[in-house]
């Protein structure tokens, strides 16, 4: 009950992603950092699969079904529309 980490969690705030799920010094952007390829070709929407329910068309982070895993996904994962190139993001979220 006196766990210092718990207290810290409650007050945590990340300036980088404007999130209360973690503090700035534990921000996933510290490691979720890609060397990207610059391509000019327009790409179509690829086939997307959901790690949570197994359906086609959305990523697990955006699944509307009840979460199957008992471990929480507080910060979001790589399997999210946010990880698509900008040109596809609006199409994905619409």
């Amino acid at each position: 009950n006196n766990c210092p980490d718990k207290g810290k969690m409650r007050n945590s705030y990340c300036r980088v992603c404007d999130s209360r799920a973690h503090s700035s010094d534990r921000c996933p952007t510290i490691w979720r950092c890609y060397i990207t390829i610059k391509t000019k070709d327009k790409i179509g929407m690829p086939q997307i699969w959901c790690y949570n329910c197994g359906s086609k068309g959305h990523f697990g982070d955006e699944c509307l079904q009840q979460r199957s895993s008992r471990t929480p996904n507080l910060n979001g994962s790589s399997f999210s529309g946010g990880n698509l190139p900008k040109s596809l993001r609006s199409q994905y979220y619409s």
């Binding site: 010094d25 979720r32 990207t36 790409i43 690829p46 699969w49 790690y51 949570n52 790589s78």
Partner: protein, 342 residues
Amino acid sequence: EGVPLDDKPIQQYPWIKNRDHSKQLELSDWLTLEIKDFINYISPSIAEIEARNNAVKRLRKEITTNLWPDCYVNVFGSFATDLYLPGSDIDMVITSDSGKYCAKSYLYQLSSFLRSKNLGVNIETIARAKVPIIKFIEPRSKIHIDVSFEKTNGLRAAERIQGWLRETPGLRELVLIVKQFLAVRRMNNVHHGGLGGFSIICLVHSFLSLHPRLITNSIDPLDNLGVLLIEFFELYGYNFGYDNVILSYNPTVCYLKKEEHSYLGASNTFALAIQDPDDPSNNISRSSYDIRNIKRSFIGAFELLTNKCYELQAASYKERLGQSILGGIIRYTGKERDFEDA
């Protein structure tokens, strides 16, 4: 936060010897370079490759000329796909056009042949198993060899995996890391509920084939092995719906819902299900009953890698020197290997 930065001896992380990546601006790049160093370090030397090839050649020649002229001696598994770690077994299978070598008597014939010709020591004949095999040590190379009879599914799988490796950059690197990670924790033995080689390959292959950055060609996996390794542990440690989802190939990588394909295993129970691409009614990972612990170990790997990144992000250049990120999850305790030879 209160964890002191220790200078761990290089003996535990021999791949960092003379390879300093502490000046990398991004920690994911540091980890990528460390993964490449590790792969270099554990990749077999020319002498090791030759010892393995010669052992196979010798056995093939002896068996086909002096015992059974109508049989084929094939290799499959990690030896055939080049995904073996130092000290891995060689999987061999005897096949024939007639299929006659599945009879038990041949099992005993081969084991006494190996004994009389000094081709094997510590020979064990396991006749009662579902897949009867002979296990022995090839005396010159000291390599452990398993021989099975008239089972061709391993050969088909090896061919398929060779194709995946050609068209999926990063697959070999991540598979070798995950294999070593599980091997150190003794979670890679299917006979004890662990993840077998083919299951590990399928997990990594599915992950790489469904990743948003890779399906849109926005990154080169070989430049991003570090972040991809962490995200592999993130997917299968935290997020994957083991109760509901089957890894599948139809004909390319996809998921299936367990409730619609109950023949692949109990529906909606916590268990890994991987549909065999060569036999859709077969679940490759059906004997991996220890998946709960494996999932837990993936969470541990994610936490160790990311915590090390947070710690190093806050550290000074001096404190970063000589540190290893990968060393948090991988140990290499075998005899020291010659880097230059690798």
